[in-house]
């Protein structure tokens, strides 16, 4: 009987130890999986300014301000598609050439030295925009002009320009309708080109642009309702143009307080610019978005998620004075052996083989 | 009568001569209402110059005349370069002569037909045509053509429509006199030059049927005319090919008339529509407009098969409204033939309105053109409004004329009833 009791005790101990260790492991797993709760793995931004001409300076300033914010919060240039329809920095009327300011007082040059515009000038057309979103680009399109998203990508789309009830004017010559935009997003959904989209639009009667959306996982905010105009905030009297729009100004004011590790959520962002400062009513669309905006961190769209790889192998970093060959050798020995690669060649710049054949 | 004729010819000649010599002849030549891309003398001189240099005048977008016309103009400008204006004036005078002669014969035919007809009611003898009218009518026709401001402008502006008008008047002359084969040849020439006169083949058939009673004779006559027309036209085209050396003149001449690539404003309806429409509808509208120009030929020929001279005038008028590059010369031609039907004028109801509209359009068109092109205060819509009103007035004129014809026909056959059962009654067109 004593033996039976001791066996029971030991098994009980063993079981409890096993359970505790197991729970520790599962805790780690939980922590592990909580790392990827939102289940998006990369962030992209598509920032579009659709109007040209000098007196639409503020639209370019809007877009570039958002570009700066988004870059600051972590999205790299390779994942930002910047479309600007007219150059303001080098416009002959710009009294401060090669600069674009979004604020009369602080004089932040949003153009700077490191801006990368992907679609410029007359390339900003409705067709190019929809091709970009849906991915149906000609095979020779360079990488910087492609939206290489997958089903785990969160995309921030910001559009600004002149709009009306149900349309947005591109370049003063054509329009994109809200139906076309909704269909483009649906194509993106069906091709699994996005995980979630945050759509921002700052134009007159902007609400009409998101009214026709029907694809899931889209959160949208617009600077004005149908029938209202979005107004500019202030003008710069030394340049002689209006430099920023109201909604963008207050949105940027909000974003300036955000850091990459900020805990602000999307619901706060949707409330930015109340009517008394914006003069127009900010409208938003949450019904297509399956999460509650209060639980969505701002950095889900504005920041960038980097892939983290956990590795358990040790890496010996050789001292700096070691010879080049040794370093390479040491490093290479710790790496897993790769498969034998196939040799690849550049295509001949000039297809001489055509002529050689004819000669024969 | 002869004195009046001499005066009208002389005054027509003097007016044209003095206008040619004055300083405004250049301005008239530049006016878009007078010279269109297919009838401008400036383009003719340019084409002739290119031809002399050995370059094909059809390679660019400048020259749209047919090759044999090119040859003719080349010879004319080589030998009588100082007297080209005289050539234009002479052609106009000849046109007036042929129109007058045709009108005389036509009037006689009409009067004869009406006096011989047995279907008419007795009381309508008051409104029948009289032989005594005929001479006067011919004189009026000639005078109208000689002194009509439109024909003077076309002549002084050196529009090649003057030559087209000559050919058309000659063909009308031959048609009325019954020389149907010669009519076919001349119509082929006119079609070769400006494409739209092909519609006048149908009245030629009808005129050829005048003396022929049996269907078999008629069919033979029709086939003969058609054969002559087609063979003349084909031979002209082949000769043109030999002259120029390639077939690309077809695109420059008939291609331009049919596909309207040049949208210079003129008094027609094509230019404004085609500047405004989207590209992918262009072919559709091209077909619509061109079919519209030709389609009226069919029902009108059926209805007016007894009265081919009226058919000719109506077809000329419809051409002037609906062709792709009309000018005032086309209007002048059918306006001068209208007096032939002056026995219909009492039955026409809208002469006042039509006259007022045409007068105001003539005055407003240069003003609105100036305001559009020079200070830029007006725009294309204003000018198009004027051309639209002008064409609408012409359409009113045509429909009014047709209605008057039908009305008079009815009265001739059934008498004029002003009262039925004691109540005043009016005629209605259904």
């Amino acid at each position: 009987m004593d033996v039976w009791f001791i066996n029971l005790l030991i098994s009980f101990l063993l079981i409890s130890i096993g359970h505790i260790s197991f729970s520790q492991v599962s805790n780690a797993d939980e922590k592990f999986s909580s790392f990827f709760k939102s289940s998006h793995t990369n962030n992209w931004a598509v920032l579009v300014c659709t109007s040209r001409f000098w007196f639409n300076y503020r639209h370019v300033a809007n877009v570039l301000s958002f570009y700066r914010s988004v870059k600051r919060l972590g999205i790299p240039d390779s994942q930002i598609i910047l479309m600007i329809a007219d150059e303001m920095a080098c416009n002959a009327r710009n009294p401060r050439p090669a600069t674009i300011y979004n604020n009369a007082h602080h004089h932040i040059n949003v153009y700077g030295d490191d801006v990368e515009v992907d679609y410029r000038g007359y390339e900003v057309t409705v067709e190019n925009f929809i091709r970009l979103l849906t991915g149906r680009l000609p095979p020779n399109t360079p990488r910087s002009k492609r939206l290489l998203t997958d089903e785990h990508s969160n995309i921030l789309i910001y559009m600004t320009g002149h709009g009306g009830d149900g349309f947005l004017k591109f370049q003063d010559a054509e329009e994109i309708t809200n139906v076309e935009l909704a269909d483009a997003f649906e194509q993106m959904w069906q091709k699994r080109r996005y995980h979630e989209i945050f759509f921002m639009i700052d134009t007159c009667q902007a609400e009409s642009m998101f009214q026709k959306f029907y694809s899931p996982n889209i959160l949208a905010v617009a600077s004005s309702r149908v029938g209202e105009d979005s107004l500019s905030h202030h003008g710069d009297s030394s340049i002689g143009v209006y430099v920023i729009d109201r909604y963008t100004y207050y949105a940027l004011e909000f974003l300036e307080k955000i850091n990459p590790d900020s805990a602000s959520n999307m619901a706060e962002f949707l409330k930015v610019c109340p009517k008394r400062v914006c003069m127009s009513t900010v409208a938003s669309r949450k019904d297509l978005f399956r999460r509650d905006p209060k639980t969505v961190p701002l950095t889900d769209f504005f920041g960038s998620v980097r892939n983290v790889e956990l590795t358990y192998t040790t890496v010996d970093l050789p001292p700096l004075s070691a010879k080049q060959n040794d370093t390479n050798h040491t490093l290479r020995s710790n790496k897993p052996q790769l498969e034998e690669k196939q040799m690849k060649y550049y295509v001949d710049q000039f297809p001489e083989w055509v002529f050689k054949e004819n000669e024969i | 009568m002869a004195g009046a004729r001499l005066i009208s010819y002389l005054s027509g000649y003097i007016l044209r001569y003095f206008l040619f010599k004055s300083s405004i002849s250049e301005n008239i030549e530049k006016r878009v209402e007078v010279s269109t891309p297919v009838s401008s003398w400036k383009r003719v001189t340019e084409g002739v110059h290119l031809y002399r240099q050995g370059v094909s005048p059809y390679s660019g977008d400048v020259f749209h005349e047919s090759p044999l016309s090119l040859l003719l103009y080349e010879i004319v400008t080589r030998y009588i370069v100082d007297w080209v204006s005289l050539l234009f004036v002479l052609c106009d005078l000849l046109t007036a002569f042929f129109l007058g002669a045709a009108a005389r014969k036509c009037g006689k035919n009409l009067a004869e037909k009406e006096s011989n007809s047995s279907k008419f009611v007795a009381e309508s003898s008051t409104i029948l045509l009289q032989d005594s009218d005929v001479g006067k009518v011919a004189l009026i026709v000639e005078t109208v053509y000689l002194l009509c401001p439109f024909s003077i402008l076309a002549c002084v502006g050196r529009s090649t429509s003057v030559f087209t008008n000559l050919l058309l008047s000659l063909s009308f002359f031959c048609m009325v006199y019954g020389f149907s084969t010669i009519t076919a040849v001349i119509l082929a020439l006119a079609t070769y030059q400006s494409f739209y006169p092909v519609m006048l083949v149908v009245p030629t058939f009808i005129s050829a049927f005048e003396n022929k009673k049996t269907t078999k004779e008629r069919v033979y006559a029709a086939l003969l005319i058609l054969l002559i027309f087609v063979s003349t036209l084909t031979s002209l085209l082949i000769i043109s090919f030999k002259v120029v050396g390639s077939w690309d003149f077809l695109w420059s001449t008939y291609g331009t008339i049919v596909s309207v690539p040049d949208l210079t404003p003129n008094v027609g309806l094509f230019w404004y529509f085609f500047t405004e429409m989207f590209d992918h509808f262009r072919i559709f509208f091209l077909w619509t407009f061109q079919i519209n120009a030709f389609i009226y030929m069919l029902p009108l020929s059926v209805r007016l098969r007894k009265e081919y001279t009226l058919l000719v005038i109506i077809l000329l008028a419809l051409t002037a409204v609906f062709k792709s590059y009309p000018s005032v010369a086309d209007t002048a031609l059918y306006l001068s033939l209208l007096p032939l039907w002056k026995h219909l004028f009492p039955y026409m109801r809208q002469t006042f309105i039509v006259g007022c509209i045409i007068l105001s359009c003539t005055v407003l068109a240069p003003v609105l053109w100036f305001l559009w092109i020079y200070p830029g205060s007006a725009n294309a819509n204003f000018y198009f409004g004027i051309t639209l009103a002008y064409n609408t007035a012409q359409i009113f004129l045509i429909t009014d004329l047709l209605f008057a014809y039908i009305k008079r026909d009815y009265i001739l056959h059934h008498g004029k009833k002003t009262e039925v059962d004691g109540k005043p009654v009016q005629l209605e067109l259904r």
Partner: protein
């Protein structure tokens, strides 16, 4: 086609129309005039606004601050002007060259077509500031006509000094997207016309004005500001817009100048009148109405009120800014303020991407801040000129019905019917000789100036006398013909057709003219419509005599005489009426000469309109009683 069918309602309408035609005419005329007068009242016109979004007027801070530079320029200019008979080209050219502008001379010759045919030469000076980062495809112009202090219209030397100062300031700036051309013209309008002709390679007056060649050019001129600043300290800016043949610049340009003047606290006036303070009252209406009438009066003359008037034909929007020191408010602005206004205007013009096309080209201004658009004044004008058409239609309908009546009265009688049948068409024929001959006479008057001038030279007349005497003689000879004619009978329908044609001709003329120069059209309509409509309405002798007298009063030459008389009496109340009448008579001679001159040199249409259209119509009206 409902129009083709005979309907009962159609004839009912016609009967009503014929019964009340005269009342309709009278009503339409009176309502039209009242409407036109009411247009000046504030509830019936609109506030001006900017249609062109690109202008962004006044948004940019004006930075022109010349210090004493402009005054120094002004002093030097006065000395140079004193020592030179013409424009001090060397000094001006040197100043511009020092600033780094391209300076060019422009020589032109005027071969005066009358009298002893003297030749006048002139030389304009212009400098081009090339835009630093743009391609010289477009330009804006700042011009000053050169006037020394001895000139009766006031010196423009302060304007030139300001121009120099502005040129120096503009040269230092980076933000010009268009070239700026600074032009100083000699001989006022002739200089402007010659320069424009040479710039655009056009020949407005071949054989008369030889516009020479331009060595240097810029792009298409988008807008032009002409300065006539008479003093270095001014009280207000008077903005002048009326151009040749009644053309006006785009309303946006006018609004721009007024707005910027307001922002720089320089009072701006239109026709020397500022905005009414109490706008909706009777007083306000009076002031607005007097401003409106000043504009109508000046536009009706068809003469440009400044050099800017010649630019409109080339699709260049231009106006003149006149600065005077004798306004009611006292001195309010100096060079700095004036310069800043012009700087602001030029900054806004610089923003433009297309030609002015958004705002109105046809308008009337009752004040600097309110406008009457063509949509408002055209119905008023339409009503004033409508009696012509109503009466013509009435006459035509009565002609038709009289013909029908004849037909109905005698059925079955062949001869009568033949006449009736031929009634409309040949009676049109009958009317044509009169129309034709009156137009031939008009053409003769149009072609006559050169010949009369030659005859006048032979007879040793003064320049204006020769042409005027010749024309007057020709016209008098024609006028007295009715006196010798005893045939004052009226011939039933045929009289009506003459009236109908005259009324239609006049109507077509007025409506066409209203599209070009509505003020002239309104003035002529107000004067001619009653006389033309009443012509031949009654066959009583007394009526015919009174009507002929009225007709004499509205003869083109007589109209000019009366206008000059009224103007002279209004401006100068001290002298006697006889003196005024004599002054008006010499004035008429001058007006005739100037209108012919203007036609030859600037292609001003007054002479053509008067001789080619107005005179033939008047002659037809005059000869009506004799038919």
């Amino acid at each position: 086609m409902g129009l083709l069918t005979d309907t009962k309602e159609h004839s009912k309408l016609i009967i009503l129309f014929k019964q009340h035609g005269n009342k309709l005419c009278f009503l339409s005329y009176v309502v039209g005039i009242v409407w036109f007068c009411l247009l000046a009242w504030e509830p019936y016109n609109n506030r001006t606004y900017f249609s062109e979004n690109a202008l962004l007027p006044g948004l940019v801070q004006r930075e022109f601050s010349p210090g004493h530079e402009t005054s120094r320029f002004f002093q030097s200019l006065k000395e140079e002007a004193g020592s030179h008979a013409r424009i001090p080209y060397a000094w001006l050219g040197a100043q511009f060259r020092q600033m780094g502008l391209d300076v060019y001379d422009h020589n032109y010759t005027l071969h005066y077509p009358f009298g002893s045919k003297p030749n006048f030469t002139g030389k304009n000076l212009y400098a081009i500031l090339r835009a630093p980062r743009a391609a010289s495809t477009e330009a804006i112009l700042l011009s000053v006509p050169y006037r020394t202090p001895e000139n009766q219209h006031g010196s423009t030397l302060p304007g030139i000094a300001l121009m120099l100062s502005l040129a120096k300031f503009f040269r230092r700036q980076l933000y010009w997207a268009k070239d700026i051309i600074f032009l100083v013209t000699e001989h006022e309008l002739v200089g402007f016309q010659a320069w424009l002709d040479a710039y655009h390679n056009s020949k407005t007056a071949p054989g008369v004005l030889d516009s020479g060649e331009l060595e240097g050019r810029s792009g298409a001129i988008q807008a032009a500001i002409n300065l006539e600043i008479h003093s270095d300290k001014i009280s207000h800016f008077d903005v002048k817009i009326e151009g040749q043949n009644g053309q006006l610049p785009n309303l946006d340009l006018f609004n721009l100048v007024v707005e910027l003047s307001t922002r720089e606290s320089v009072p701006s006036t239109f026709h020397q009148k500022s905005n009414p303070v109490e706008s909706e009252s009777w007083k306000g209406w009076k002031q607005a109405f007097s401003t409106l009438m000043s504009m109508v009066a000046l536009q009706a003359t068809g003469l440009p009120t400044g050099g800017h008037g010649l630019f409109h034909r080339y699709a260049i929007q231009a106006l003149t800014i006149k600065g005077e020191s004798n306004g009611p408010g006292g001195i309010r602005a100096s060079f700095v303020h004036m310069g800043r206004v012009i700087e602001g205007v030029f900054r806004s013009l610089n923003n433009l991407l297309e030609r002015f096309h958004q705002s109105f080209f046809f308008y009337l201004l009752p004040s600097t801040r309110r406008y009457v658009s063509i949509g408002l004044y055209m119905p008023a004008f339409g009503l004033i000129a409508a009696p012509l058409l109503i009466k013509a239609l009435n006459l035509y309908l009565s002609l038709q019905s009289s013909k029908d009546l004849d037909k109905k009265a005698t059925p079955g009688m062949e001869n009568k019917d033949e006449d009736a049948r031929e009634e409309t068409f040949p009676s049109l024929w009958q009317a044509l000789p009169l129309v034709f001959s009156s137009h031939i006479l008009g053409c003769l008057v149009y072609l006559s100036p050169e010949y009369f001038d030659r005859i006048g030279m032979l007879a040793d007349f003064q320049l204006e006398d020769g042409i005027f005497m010749g024309m007057a003689a020709l016209l008098l000879a024609v006028l007295v013909v009715p006196l010798f004619s005893r045939r004052l009978k009226r011939c039933g329908g045929s009289h009506g057709i003459y009236r109908c044609i005259v009324l239609l001709e006049l109507g077509a003329f007025f409506y066409t003219l209203s599209l070009i120069n509505v003020s002239l059209a309104t003035f002529l309509a107000v004067v001619y419509v009653p006389v033309a409509v009443l012509a031949g309405t009654s066959s009583r002798r007394i009526f015919t005599w009174v009507h002929s007298l009225l007709l004499l009063l509205i003869h083109p030459l007589m109209l000019v005489y009366l206008v000059l008389l009224v103007n002279s009496a209004y401006l100068d109340t001290s002298t006697k009426m006889v003196d005024h009448m004599f002054r008006a008579y010499t004035g008429v001679k001058k007006v005739v000469l100037y209108s012919v001159e203007d036609w030859y040199i600037y292609s001003n249409w007054n002479f053509v309109i008067a001789s080619g259209v107005l005179l033939p119509v008047w002659l037809q009206l005059w000869f009506l009683p004799t038919l």
